[in-house]
């Protein structure tokens, strides 16, 4: 009953926002102010730099964790890479388990949650500020992040809840509670609750409002400016039909089109790179030199490093804990196998797709170079670009310079990526919500309705502080999650050693 009242309440607010844009405008302003004063301290805390530097400590936190996991598991991302590919191909899947969630499906679903605007717009921002050298650090951070993903996804499967009706729930909140209890460590439940709160906020913000907002900017960039709430209502309607109405067909179409778009994006990038094959050596030269000298960008080498690390962390979500939720549904007797599969995710997302974007921008000569010094020309901390564009506009211009009609394809890709990221995050948020408030139809619908309303708010308003806050919430998830990963990594090591031993001795057999 309470839930229904609540739904009615939030729906009314949503309708008010639609029917009166002017009113919405004033609501925006007051929400802005309220949020800014209430959450500003949290945002500046999460993104605050190490004293005396411009390096945000949260980025350091993620990279240090990835480095520790890399050494602790002795470069697992390189050792296990071929085995991961065999697992995804289904070489080790028991044919009698056909019809269950395969490794490939869990990977594809998790990927569609992370491949998105970060790969297209975010990389352009990184290269636009940090220069080509940012690409080097981005790739390095992506390779290290593979170890973080490996750790969290193994735990996600190991400590998931399996219910009597056959459904499963997994993710950091479950391994924080159950894993800590198993090791006799205190505070697991507290961390799990904290994680869930951040996860809900992150889902509504970075996984929702930010996506809606950016998708609207991309669409209005092509069709000319029009009110954001129109995009918001359309998006919210489609999201509502999928997550509340159970219209699986739309989601299924997206899930099919998104990988296709991803492949097409990489293919287009490859074509541009191959056409400019004579510049590949030069481009990599710029990337390596830029990585250690900065080639004139603001902040020099450190500036390039910060941009690269930051972009990789934002894009592949390694260490954030979100992927552990998506991966936990796979059917396997060995939790560690899902860890192996998940380490491909930062590789595909960052090392392949993000690098393609960066290479296209560099190779098509979007970044202007001073002919005399060979350094990049900067203005106000940014490299001056050939088209004057930054962010997604820069990526678009780079592709357009080689393939005239590509910006339209890119716009469709951005919208679809945004949509699939929203669907994934609505699920992550829901899992955290049900962890906090318990399972139940009304409780679930309450969250889903709130989620849809935030789609409209995200597209309609320019709620800077709200979006900052939600980005901060996603990274706050990483603070909690990585503390948990440090405490639970011996368990993963035990699983890993036992598995590798059985693999070597032939107890674990190939089926194909």
């Amino acid at each position: 009953m309470q839930n229904q009242k609540f739904i009615a309440g939030v729906t009314a607010i949503g309708l008010a926002l639609l029917s009166a844009p002017a009113l919405a405008q004033s609501i925006d302003e007051s929400v802005n102010q309220m949020f800014a004063s209430a959450t500003g301290w949290f945002v500046s805390f999460i993104f605050s730099p190490f004293p005396g530097t411009a390096f945000p400590w949260i980025v350091g936190w993620l990279v240090v964790a990835a480095t520790i996991f890399t050494f602790y598991f002795v470069f697992i991302q390189f050792r296990a890479f071929p085995h991961s590919i065999s697992l995804v191909k289904g070489d080790y899947s028991d044919p009698n388990d056909a019809g269950e969630v395969s490794h490939f499906q869990a990977l594809a679903t998790a990927l569609s949650g992370t491949v998105g605007l970060g790969n297209i717009a975010g990389v352009a921002v990184a290269v636009g500020i940090g220069g080509p050298g940012a690409t080097f650090w981005m790739i390095l951070a992506g390779l290290m992040g593979m170890a973080s993903k490996f750790t969290e996804c193994t735990l996600g499967v190991k400590y998931r809840n399996e219910y009597e009706d056959g459904t499963v729930s997994g993710g950091p909140m479950y391994y924080l509670t159950k894993g800590f209890a198993e090791r006799g460590l205190p505070g697991g439940r507290f961390l799990a609750i904290l994680f869930s709160v951040f996860c809900i906020l992150g889902a509504l913000g970075g996984g929702n409002m930010f996506q809606a907002n950016q998708a609207h900017q991309q669409i209005s960039g092509i069709f000319g400016g029009y009110p954001g709430w129109i995009t918001g209502v359309i998006f919210a309607g489609v999201v509502f039909a999928v997550i509340v109405g159970g219209l699986k067909s739309i989601a299924r179409v997206t899930e099919k089109v998104v990988p296709f778009m991803g492949v097409m994006y990489v293919a287009a990038a490859l074509i541009i790179i191959i056409v400019n094959a004579d510049k590949i050596g030069w481009a990599f030269g710029q990337i390596f030199t830029g990585a250690f000298t900065g080639l004139g960008v603001a902040g020099g080498m450190v500036g390039a490093l910060i941009q690269g690390f930051k972009r990789a962390a934002f894009s592949n979500e390694a260490g954030v804990g979100s992927a552990a939720i998506a991966h936990s549904a796979v059917r396997t007797k060995e939790p560690i196998t899902e860890g192996f599969v998940s380490l491909l995710e930062p590789f595909i997302d960052t090392v392949v797709i993000c690098t393609m974007t960066a290479l296209v921008i560099i190779i098509t000569g979007q970044l202007t170079i001073d002919a005399e010094t060979g350094n990049y020309i900067t203005e106000g901390g940014r490299i001056v670009t050939a088209s004057g564009a930054s962010g997604v506009g820069l990526t678009s211009a780079a592709f357009e310079s080689a393939i005239g009609w590509f910006p339209y394809v890119l716009a469709i890709a951005v919208v679809l990526f945004a949509f699939s990221t929203m669907i994934s995050w609505s699920y992550y948020g829901l899992k955290a919500w049900t962890y906090l408030f318990g399972e139940g139809k009304n409780k679930e619908i309450a969250f889903k309705v709130i989620f849809c309303i935030f789609v409209i708010i995200g597209a309609a308003a320019n709620l800077g502080p709200v979006i900052d806050f939600s980005d901060a919430a996603i990274f706050a998830m990483a603070v909690v999650n990585i503390i948990g990963l440090y405490c639970l990594m011996p368990i993963v090591k035990r699983e890993l050693n036992s598995y590798l031993e059985r693999l070597d001795s032939g107890v674990i057999k190939k089926f194909k």
């Binding site: 269950e100 679903t109 729930s169 699986k248 899930e255 549904a329 059917r331």
Partner: protein, 144 residues
């Protein structure tokens, strides 16, 4: 060694014709019949997070439905004719899975019903009957 016939059954009238033809053969040769029901499934399809979560439950429901709605009644009808019968339900690519079953069960013959439609789709992509005619590991009878 006694003979074993595999009959591909999806509950369609065509598959029922194949089954009754196989039963007649079995009555004269003394062969046993294995009713094979394959649910089309690809491990490379894309699912939403919610579908992932419910997959194990849905699989159970699908197997249950297939057993009750298709397989059980067919098994009973064959057994009423006095032929020794067993059944198997699998997920996978239909033709490939039928071949797997035939090889694993040591089948001596296979029976497939064909619908007789010659739609463009079937011509382009091939029907199960056509594929079986090409890849069946044992003699395969197509029943019109």
């Amino acid at each position: 060694m006694s003979e074993k016939y595999i009959v591909a059954c999806d509950g369609s009238p065509a598959s029922e014709r194949a089954l009754s033809f196989a039963v007649k053969q079995a009555q004269t040769t003394g062969a046993s019949i294995l009713i094979a029901h394959v649910l089309e499934w690809s491990p490379y399809s894309f699912l939403t997070p919610e579908e992932l979560e419910e997959r194990h439950k849905r699989r159970g429901e699908e197997l249950d439905r297939a057993k009750k709605a298709v397989v059980d009644t067919l098994v009973k009808s064959v057994s009423d004719e006095g032929v020794k019968v067993d059944s198997v339900i699998k997920y996978g690519h239909v033709a490939e899975t039928l071949v797997d079953i035939a090889e694993k069960e040591g089948a001596t013959q296979m029976f497939i019903g064909r619908t007789g439609h010659s739609s463009i789709a079937a011509r382009v992509f091939g029907s199960v009957a056509v594929i079986m005619a090409q890849i069946a590991p044992v003699p395969c009878t197509l029943v019109p």
